[in-house]
């Protein structure tokens, strides 16, 4: 299942960053992709809508650890974990 999720997450990130999905690598940071805190909020919303999960994300404290956004891979892992928990 996680094989499905990772490219979907990357596609969401790419759309929000307005770049080609090939440019979104697992070790990219969202910052390096040009995403600000509002871009992150929109990504979180898109993830919630697409996967039917609730992402514990607060724009005031994005590094609080509840949901790791330090890299693209961290976001993918976080979504997989949420989807697994939901299932």
């Amino acid at each position: 299942m996680s094989d499905d999720i990772r490219p979907q997450v990357r596609a969401i990130i790419a759309e929000q960053a307005m770049i080609d999905v090939d440019q979104v690598t697992q070790d990219s940071t969202l910052d390096a992709l040009g995403l600000d805190s509002l871009g992150l909020v929109e990504i979180v919303f898109a993830i919630e809508e697409q996967f039917g999960v609730t992402v514990p994300y607060n724009a005031n404290d994005p590094s609080s650890g509840e949901f790791d956004i330090s890299s693209v891979k961290a976001v993918e892992d976080g979504v997989i974990r949420l989807v697994t928990e939901e299932a």
Partner: protein, 404 residues
């Protein structure tokens, strides 16, 4: 130049009903934030707010009156009645046309809107109450206040999100100072604790799940509030002639637009608004002792506001007291500036600076004297009250202790 003084104040907030209850809560550093009881919170991620739990509209209005007045108007009318009684202002035929009504509200009658959307979209009703439009329109609070008190001068509502009531009060101040009115009933009201509004705020991901901790390193975002604060502003000579008690004086108003981002705050826009307010007051920044900050407790606002204060005040920033009373009455959006001007007037009139409640840990990016947790008794000759709205619309008031 004509001077403008405050001669009446009325409040409904999470700290209590009435001016005295509100400032007593501010003095105590008491937080009015807690679980929402006004509506069913099933399905809300963040079911806390600074709700005006002590306010029961049935204490103030009969059933017919309630039918025509959304909660936002009820609170505005209750606060206005207190302000007018306190001011002791008799609205003669001559004064009626010279008295303005300028009321800020960001969202107007949200309970009416929410309730009626539920009726037509969820319950499939074919019709809504005939007075839905006059209940939900944003000018309803201003209109009802003018009707209730027979105020026939210039009247309008102001909607600039979180700066609505600072813009309203500032316009009332300028109107009286310039001779366009001799008195004004002004301030703001907001009652947006509805399922729809709270869902919208949740979406922004800037809301705290626990409480509002402005300037604290541990801050986790803003907390919604509701309430109203209405003030009577009066030309000084008019107030003096009738022997009115003067709570404080408004001496400056500055407003700017960031012209930058729809939600991110701007250091430049905030700093320019403070400078414009000081220039309007013809006052040097070194005279200011206290700033009632916008202080929403979002990561972005608080550090930006502190940096803006440093830019405007330079070395004097280290001598300033800067507190955010949103920590106690929540972020009342369109009523915020008015509730905070009441706190500012308390500092000037009573020599008590309201604290920043819920404060835990110093943040190097907010390294000002934020008056943590405990009110401070000290003489305040001049003070600033900041409001910086979403959309980058900034409004800053300068107030002075009244010393005759």
């Amino acid at each position: 130049m004509r001077r403008v003084v405050v001669t009446g104040s009325g409040v409904v907030s999470a700290l209590g009903v009435g001016h005295a209850a509100h400032i007593a809560g501010l003095r105590e550093g008491r937080s009015g934030i807690g679980p929402i009881e006004l509506i069913n919170t099933d399905g809300l991620t963040i079911p806390i707010a600074a709700e005006a739990k002590g306010y029961d509209a049935a204490d103030h209005f009969n059933r017919n009156e309630l039918t025509l007045r959304d909660r936002v108007t009820q609170m505005a009318l209750t606060a206005a009645a207190e302000a007018m009684t306190g001011a002791g202002l008799e609205i003669t035929d001559a004064l009626a046309g010279r008295t303005a009504t300028i009321i800020g509200t960001s969202m107007g009658g949200q309970h009416t809107q929410d309730d009626n959307y539920k009726l037509i979209y969820r319950e499939g009703k074919q019709r809504v109450h005939p007075f839905t439009v006059p209940k939900l329109m944003s000018n309803a609070p201003a209109s009802w206040i003018s009707m209730e008190h027979g105020l026939k001068g210039p009247a309008w509502s102001v909607s600039t999100a979180c700066a609505s009531s600072n813009h309203a009060i500032g316009q009332a101040f300028h109107l009286i100072r310039s001779g366009g009115a001799d008195a004004a009933v002004t301030g703001g009201a907001e009652s947006g604790l509805t399922f729809g509004v709270l869902k919208a705020w949740e979406g922004l991901r800037v809301m705290s799940k626990d409480t509002c901790r402005p300037f604290s390193k541990t801050r986790t975002g803003m907390v919604q509030g509701e309430g109203a604060a209405i003030l009577v502003l009066e030309e000084y000579g008019h107030a003096k002639a009738r022997g009115a008690h003067i709570i404080g004086e408004i001496i400056g108003f500055g407003m700017t637009a960031d012209a930058n981002d729809i939600v991110q705050p701007s250091l430049d826009g905030a700093a320019r608004a403070m400078k414009a307010a000081l220039a309007d007051a013809r006052l040097d920044g070194s005279e200011i002792a206290y700033i009632n900050a916008h202080g929403t407790a979002t990561a972005a606002n608080d550090k930006t506001e502190c940096a803006a204060i440093r830019q405007v005040f330079g070395a004097h920033a280290d001598s300033l007291m800067v507190s955010s009373t949103k920590s106690m009455h929540g972020h009342c959006i369109g009523a915020a500036g008015a509730l905070e001007l009441v706190a500012t007037l308390m500092a000037l009139h009573d020599g008590v600076v309201a604290p920043t409640a819920n404060y835990e840990e110093a943040d190097p990016e907010c390294d000002l004297d934020v008056v943590p947790n405990t009110a401070r008794e000290t003489a305040v000759p001049y003070a600033l009250s900041n409001s910086f709205a979403f959309g980058g619309l900034n409004a800053v008031l300068v107030a002075k202790r009244f010393d005759a």
